[in-house]
């Protein structure tokens, strides 16, 4: 499967650099300055010592000034650039952009493709891997700059004496070996460790979620969740611990090599000095250059290790990025006459059974249609296909005879509105909870009227913040649902779908709401999915679904006369209220 392949470094980098080109160019410039400072300080050291040997003339002060300038330059790099600019501006801007790219991506994915467990995991992983993207780009810029720096300093000290070059690789070898070994161990445990981490997050969520908190305090689920969390954690820690032990062993066995690398420069310099191949100023500059070179090389090998690690860490982002998109060519979509479904079938991605099977249906403009049927009969799926949120697996959906598969989603939904069964509870103000249905409308008066309709006692206003998580107030399920109805009607489209719009609303209010539906639906095309068969009567036509098929289609009277499924549903409900 495409989405499981690793994205090549080149593609990832192109993507990352495109997200913040200026930032990375600036990074390269700063890297150059930093490199220059290393050479400056070696040069100044050599000068200082030759002045001292020659008797302390006025030139000593000019060399000292260069020395100080080199210092300030490198401090500027680390303090101003790395610790201030990058951390507080560059990374933050980058994160903001990269998240917006994710948002835009979500917009382009068709809803049925979001329904799979894979997509669920991908979104979460993509979002949490975004910080690593910046670092990944940074690694490459740094690597290039470091190589440049190494070349400059190496050239400079080999001009003192070529023997210096011999010991240089020595300091890089242990770090390189450690890094490769570390990457290998990391790779081996990676899948298990991240899988465990994700499971732990799910368990944690189940402990602290608002809904779970209530339930768990009676069922005692927390004990079990905690136990499972602990098992997963222990598994993960065992892997990490064994990795850390192995690293210790490796490090101890590389000790001598590392040590030779660390003091090799000093040893070589002093030996050359001892043999009178170099003089004191060159000796001091050599030692200095050597130690800064060792540090640079260690940094470089560390960078390579980081590259391997970060490349894996950014993969989830691109896995999400590679999910298929919906596309669409046309910006035109009209609904003047009818919606027609011809032989439509629908299967959820990664599932086998058909949720919809050979649906043929025509809805005329201005009609109100009710859809009834048992749970799992495919009612909500059908509605999603009619709205164009789900693309049929086979067959076609046409608005005014034009297949909507070629229409861009934004154009398609322009005149639609919906109250979904799984309506959203937005943790923003009450007013915005309605306005979110159509932000461009900006009709404060209408919003106020609708709020007053839901909260007659006036204790909730347009600016009341919702969601305890943000210090707002909480509403009952019924109140939330009424808000979602208000939202649906606030967007005055000509085609509105009401999927179980009153499932949490009490009977007195429900009756009033259905009364208002009739008014709101006037002149519009409407689909109501409901179990309230009494409410179904207001529809022009009733459709009965069973196992993904339309089995009955007609008016209330016609269907009762048919004495089929609708009639039996009706009888069951009537029995509950009979005297």
């Amino acid at each position: 499967m495409m989405s499981h392949e690793q994205l090549s470094a080149r593609k990832a980098l192109l993507y990352i650099f495109r997200a913040a080109p200026r930032s990375y160019v600036f990074m390269a410039l700063m890297g150059l300055l930093n490199g220059a400072s290393a050479i400056m300080s070696v040069w100044a050291t050599q000068r200082i010592f030759s002045h001292i040997q020659a008797g302390y003339g006025a030139e000593l002060f000019s060399s000292l000034a260069v020395y100080a300038a080199a210092f300030i330059l490198s401090a500027g790099y680390s303090v101003w650039y790395m610790r201030y600019h990058v951390q507080f501006f560059a990374i933050i801007d980058f994160e903001s952009n990269i998240r917006r790219m994710l948002h835009a991506k979500s917009r382009r994915i068709s809803n049925e493709d979001l329904e799979t467990p894979n997509a669920y995991a991908f979104i979460r992983q993509a979002d949490s891997s975004r910080q690593n993207l910046f670092r990944y780009g940074q690694i490459y810029v740094e690597a290039v700059m470091t190589l440049l720096q190494t070349a400059m300093v190496t050239a400079y000290i080999s001009s003192f004496n070529i023997v210096f070059l011999l010991f240089l690789p020595l300091s890089a070898i242990p770090t390189l070996l450690e890094m490769l070994y570390d990457a290998r161990l990391w790779k081996r445990g990676y899948e298990t460790v991240t899988q465990c981490q994700r499971e732990e997050t799910e368990y944690e969520k189940a402990v602290i979620d608002e809904v779970a908190c209530k339930e768990s305090r009676i069922t005692g689920a927390n004990a079990l969740l905690f136990k499972k969390w602990k098992n997963s954690r222990m598994k993960r820690d065992a892997i990490e611990n064994s990795k850390s032990k192995k690293m210790l062993i490796l490090k101890l066995s590389l000790c001598i090599l590392e040590c030779a690398g660390n003091i090799g420069g000093f040893a070589v310099s002093i030996f050359l000095f001892f043999l009178d191949h170099i003089d004191l100023p060159t000796f001091t500059a050599g030692v200095m250059a050597y130690s800064s070179l060792t540090a640079i090389l260690k940094g470089l090998t560390g960078t390579v290790g980081n590259e391997i690690q970060f490349r894996r860490m950014i993969q989830p982002y691109f896995r999400y990025w590679n999910l298929p998109e919906r596309g669409g060519e046309s910006d035109q979509c009209t609904f003047e006459k009818s919606v027609t479904l011809s032989d439509v079938s629908f299967t959820y991605p990664n599932q086998t059974g058909k949720a919809l099977d050979g649906i043929n249906l025509t809805i005329h403009k201005g009609e109100t249609i009710a859809i009834v049927g048992e749970n799992g009969a495919g009612k909500s799926t059908l509605v999603n296909v009619i709205l164009g949120l789900y693309r049929p697996s086979s067959g076609s959906v046409c608005y005014d005879g034009a297949d909507i598969s070629k229409v861009k989603e934004a154009a398609l939904h322009l005149r639609q509105s919906a109250v979904s069964q799984s309506f959203c509870r937005y943790k923003i103000t009450v007013g915005d909870n309605i306005a979110i249905g159509n932000f461009s409308k900006q009709d404060g008066k209408e919003i106020n009227q609708r709020i007053a309709g839901i909260f007659p006692n006036g204790e909730v206003g347009q600016n009341t913040l919702l969601g305890k998580e943000f210090g707002g107030r909480e509403l009952s399920g019924g109140q939330w649902q009424q808000l979602s109805c208000a939202r649906g009607f606030y967007k005055d489209g000509d085609f509105i779908v009401l999927d179980e719009p009153t499932s949490a609303i009490d009977p007195l209010r429900e009756k009033a709401i259905y009364g208002s539906f009739q008014k709101e639906l006037q002149g519009k095309t409407g689909i109501i999915v409901t179990h309230r068969l009494g409410a179904v009567k207001l529809a022009d036509r009733i459709i009965v679904c069973q196992q993904g098929r339309i089995v009955e289609n007609g008016t209330h009277q016609e269907l009762l006369a048919e004495n089929g499924i609708y009639a039996s549903l009706w009888k069951t409900q009537a029995a509950a209220f009979s005297d």
Partner: protein, 576 residues
């Protein structure tokens, strides 16, 4: 938090002391080599003798020792990090699972949960920083001593710079304290907007209502807010660091000038001068590292305070009287009044009634009339402002959490989809998980046939949403599962709060029939909108605007309670 409090509470001395000791040994080595290195340089300059090679060998041996110590320190730190982070995370999660229910409904709970999340990372920082501080302290002290013996002024100059640096750093730590918390708070909002634009639960409405642009605008506004707060933190830090860097540059020049004096007067040789010069350059690095370590330590200790605030949140139920047995002698509400925190009007006022064991009750009323609150009071999740809720004659809020599930089983209107297997999900209220036969029979009676269970793993198939193989259940299926959980529980009191909201009428009829059979022996309390479903109850409690207005069987209510009759007839119109 105080450092001392932290150390005594969270640090194991068996790990801490050896770590600090190795750190001290590692720190002493560079100081010891100053004079040795000076002699080596002089030896090399002077043409050398036997001592030169011995010195070189000793020098290398010391360097080897330092490398070994470094590796061991690294491993000790890693081991501590792994163990301690598991310990802290576990403490945090265990605490979260025990926090009193009303507290879990507050913003404080969620924000402390988030701000305590980086406790393990902070702990590792504290551990590493204290090692660094010991290491650097020894290094600085011994090096200063060596320099002092060459030239007192050089040492004094360094001490002066060090002191200024430490003072500056303390200001820095203090200045930047509150910003981090603010940044987090701001980001919480930003993250929420981001989830609206990205998460799948908002996908349908996002597309139908195309609210992307406006929410994106808010996302950016909120992000830039957070960024500005964050930039303040950065600026404060930068200003101080810039001053320090200038000091260091000055110091670099001064050290050469200071050392020139003893060199001129012949107190030190050129070798010692060179070695001291290196040492001084090294000291400058050490000073920087020392500041960073002190800064890390202070900042981390301060920020880890989030964890202790979280661990100090109020816990569920004081461990007083226990009701270990599963008997039920009835529930009594005695003049109960309850107000939500921050609200001025009570949700429930002067509620009194008694429920007898083994009988079936229903609770009806409109949205927001206090039905769900009454349930929470009944099971002891809330404590009344006044009056008492008694179970078996004892106040229910004194019930031990573990005993709650022996007495009550509740099906809530909104239920959590636990990331557990089907079997575990259903067996939550049981001491021993149910076997396949029990599950088969209960599921049959509820007409619940999850597709997932037909696979090889059967009822052990996991409902964790992350797995590719995870068995997705529909909302209705989840609800049936929570009903099955209630049925399998042996608790004598069953409460069903709107258990049928997601069920269709036929399923509802089946489920109700099943309830009646399965729960016949227990006291039941049904809360429902669908009056047709609850009329079979022995008695119906009618709640209106926070007051209990009637408690009688259906037939009697139809005659005596106008409000109930209106509710019933209205609904009849909706269904029939």
């Amino acid at each position: 938090m105080e450092l001392r409090t932290y150390l005594s509470r969270y640090i194991s001395w068996k790990e801490y002391v050896p770590y600090l000791l190795i750190a001290a040994v590692t720190g002493s080595i560079p100081a010891v080599t100053i004079n040795l290195r000076g002699d080596l340089i002089d030896g090399a300059a002077g043409g050398g003798n036997q001592g030169f090679f011995i010195g070189l060998a000793v020098f290398m041996a010391l360097s080897l020792l330092q490398t070994v110590c470094g590796a061991v320190m690294n491993r000790t730190l890693e081991r501590h990090r792994i163990r301690q982070s598991a310990r802290l995370d576990a403490a945090r999660l265990e605490k979260a699972s025990k926090i009193a229910f009303p507290v879990t409904e507050t913003e404080r709970f969620h924000s402390l949960w988030q701000s305590s999340a980086d406790a393990p990372e902070l702990d590792a920082q504290i551990f590493a920083a204290s090692g660094d501080i010991v290491n650097l302290f020894v290094k600085l002290a011994l090096s200063l001593f060596a320099l002092w013996s060459m030239d007192a002024w050089t040492a004094i100059g360094i001490i002066f710079l060090l002191t200024i640096g430490i003072l500056l750093n303390r200001t820095l730590a203090r200045k930047t304290d509150g910003f981090w918390v603010k940044y987090r708070e701001n980001m919480r909002r930003t993250n929420y907007f981001s989830s609206l634009l990205m998460q799948r639960e908002y996908a349908a409405e996002r597309k139908i209502f195309s609210f992307d642009d406006e929410i994106d605008r808010r996302y950016r506004a909120s992000f830039s807010n957070a960024k500005q707060e964050n930039a303040k933190l950065g600026r404060g830090r930068f200003q101080i660091e810039a001053v320090m860097q200038l000091l260091f540059a000055f110091y670099g020049v001064m050290i050469v000038l200071l050392l020139l004096r003893p060199l001129m007067s012949g107190t030190i040789t050129i070798g010692l001068f060179t070695s001291a010069f290196y040492a001084a350059v090294g000291l400058e690095q050490s000073c920087k590292q020392m500041y960073a370590a002190v800064y890390d330590l202070i900042g981390s200790v301060h920020r880890i305070g989030g964890l202790s605030s979280f661990l100090n949140l109020e816990e569920d139920t004081p461990a007083k009287g226990s009701f270990a047995d599963e008997t039920n002698e009835g529930i009594e509400f005695c003049d109960v009044t309850f107000t939500y925190p921050g609200m001025n009007k009570p949700v429930l006022e002067h509620i009194s009634f008694r429920l007898e064991p083994g009988r079936h009750y229903a609770l009806v009323g409109e949205n927001g009339c206090g039905k769900s609150t009454l349930v929470k009071l009944l099971v002891g999740l809330y404590q009344p402002d006044s009056g008492e809720v008694l179970v078996n004659g004892k106040p229910v809020h004194l019930l031990l959490p573990a005993d709650r599930r022996r007495l009550f089983s509740v099906v809530f209107q909104d239920f959590y989809q636990y990331p557990l297997t089907i079997r575990e999900n259903v067996s939550l209220c049981m001491d021993v998980p149910a076997d396949d036969k029990m599950l088969d029979s209960v599921f049959d009676r509820l007409d619940f046939h999850p597709m997932a269970a037909s696979r090889e793993v059967g009822y052990d198939s996991d409902l964790m949403p992350l797995y590719k193989t995870s068995a997705g259940l529909s909302g209705g299926e989840w609800q049936k599962m929570t009903v099955a959980r209630c049925v399998l529980s042996t608790a004598p009191i069953a409460i069903l709060d709107e258990p049928n909201a997601a069920l269709d009428p036929i399923a509802e009829a089946k489920v109700y029939e099943a309830y009646r059979g399965l729960l016949a022996q227990r006291m039941t309390l049904f809360i429902s909108h669908r009056l047709g479903s609850v009329r079979m109850a022995d008695e119906i409690l009618v709640l209106k605007d926070g007051a209990l207005i009637a408690k009688a069987p259906h037939e009697k209510l139809m005659v005596e309670c106008d409000y109930y009759a209106e509710l019933f007839n209205t609904q009849k119109g909706m269904y029939v």
